[in-house]
């Protein structure tokens, strides 16, 4: 099982977040955590997701990248993901 952390910028439009989560589920990635915040102008959502799967992370990445609402998606490197986890822990 691979645990992956992804960062996305998604157009804040009808159903956009549901679409992202739906693709994640359908492609057999289990969602462990999701955090979504609207940008200040309300035009986008910044989304961070932690998922788990036996499949390679790139397969999810490429499926999400082709969604019309997704303007950017990246797989966080393990180190970066670890750093963000620590920030989240401190914040908590």
């Amino acid at each position: 099982m691979n645990t992956l952390k992804l960062r996305l910028r998604v157009k804040h439009s009808e159903g956009a977040l549901v679409r992202v989560l739906s693709v994640t589920r359908r492609r057999r990635f289990d969602l462990l955590q999701v955090l979504a915040n609207a940008t200040l102008d309300g035009a986008f959502l910044d989304v961070q997701m932690t998922v788990q799967a036996e499949r390679a992370g790139n397969t999810l990445l490429s499926q999400l990248a082709k969604l019309e609402d997704v303007s950017n998606v990246e797989l966080l490197a393990p180190k970066e993901a670890e750093g963000e986890a620590q920030v989240a822990k401190l914040g908590a």
């Binding site: 009808e14 739906s22 359908r26 390679a56 397969t59 990248a65 082709k66």
Partner: protein, 550 residues
Amino acid sequence: MKGAQFLVQALEREGVEVIFGYPGGAIMPVYDALIDSKIRHILVRHEQAAALAADGYARASGKVGVCMATSGPGATNLVTGIANAYMDSVPVVAITGQVATNLMGTDAFQEVDIFGITLPVVKHSFLVRTAAELPEIVREAFRIARSGRPGPVLIDLPKDIANTIAGYEFGTNEKNEATPAPSPESISHALDLLRKSQRPVAYVGGGVGMANALAELKTFIETSGIPFVATLKGLGSLSTKHELALGMMGMHGRKAANHAVQECDLLLCIGARFDDRATGRLNGFAPHAKVIHLDVDAAEIGKLRHAEAPVAGNLCDSLKALTCQLDIEPWRRKCLALKESTEWDYAAPGSEVYAPDFLRRLSERAGENCIVACDVGQHQMWVAQHFHFTNPAQHLTSGGLGTMGFGLPAAIGAQFAFPDATVINVSGDGSIMMNLQEFATLRRYDLPVKIVLFDNSALGMVRQWQELFHDRRYSEVDLSDNPDFALVAQSMGLTSFRVDRREDVDAAIVQLLAARGPVLAHVIIHQEANVWPIVGPGKSNSEMMDEVTL
């Protein structure tokens, strides 16, 4: 101007000529606006047929197909057709009426969350919030539907928005964005693999036709001399009679095609997606091959099979860049010898109609420009095996979703795209009942669709599987209580006749092709006729069964 009028004007600006649909409460404002439009509305008798007709129209014409229905059950009836278009990457725009915005979320009469229901089976979707955004939404919907890897787009329009009066200036339609070209690095790597290969095979999928890369494929194949196989949807991308055509691959593929793929050292996948019906057991598929995968959709590359050379980008550019001469004569000769030794045998015992031979004869008489819309089942595979195609747009078949009932509405869509074309629907006694009501649409518009209905009084493909893989434990496949299809057709205004002897086949085909209006040939075949060869479930394509091995 009302929102509904904006919508119709926006559709006109997209060049829409035909909409397949069915009216109802929430979509009434749009139907009102259509009265004043030059767009032709085709009234089907079930919304599923509207979506499938739009799909068939799009496949045959290369244009975006449009379907429309009201909210609630009208919208849900479209879903199978939308999913069908999604699975086969067909550009369709589906417009649904919705209850008024103040009623949304209240479980109002005929309210259903069609936006939510269709999320997994659309390329994109819109819920219209204001009338002023309608023209922009329509423009975006058409752009998305036809760009890159095509697919269906839903526009859900609440009734109050359709009735709202608003102002809007139509802008100039932007040109579609160009599909990205492949990177020079990916081409260079692919060329390297290609030049080193001794036993290459091209595996041609439906993406070639969608990308309008038929000429580029022909040049590539004929320059390189690479033998090619086709998926169900790739058939006709290059003539199925081409010297280097080894036939369809996969579960019911031709032996020459499957053997060549299993033996090749390089598999050049062009606009295909390693679908399980094509590959058989994936880890036994093309076991000696490195893979070059060309696709406009980068998400398909490496999804199921690792590609040593991924080439993401438009297929026209990719094929042009990879065109080169290769020294593979021994392999080419081997493949062609294999093809010759595995030609179809049309001799069959008995005096009953033999469906493969019927289709071969029909193909010869119907000519190279006819369009064949299939349903799903044994007859679908027989068409793929025995009909000849010179263009993939001639062969309308539900590949991904496998939708029984696809054929007749798809044929209707194709006939509206090409009113003068010979359009044939090949169906079975199971499939035809799924959209039988569309006989009435044929009659209403006097469409000269020619229906060949193979009747074996059974759900043939399921029966075949139960025979071969379930120890002949037949479960719910008997259809011996079918109606008299010829009488049903007559009662709905079609010409019809019955064919049950092999000696009558040629005359029946002549009669079918000569008919001026809608016509049905009710062709009786043996209940135990099977599709051969077949790759069993969980088996690799090396393990094809044929009648002899039973």
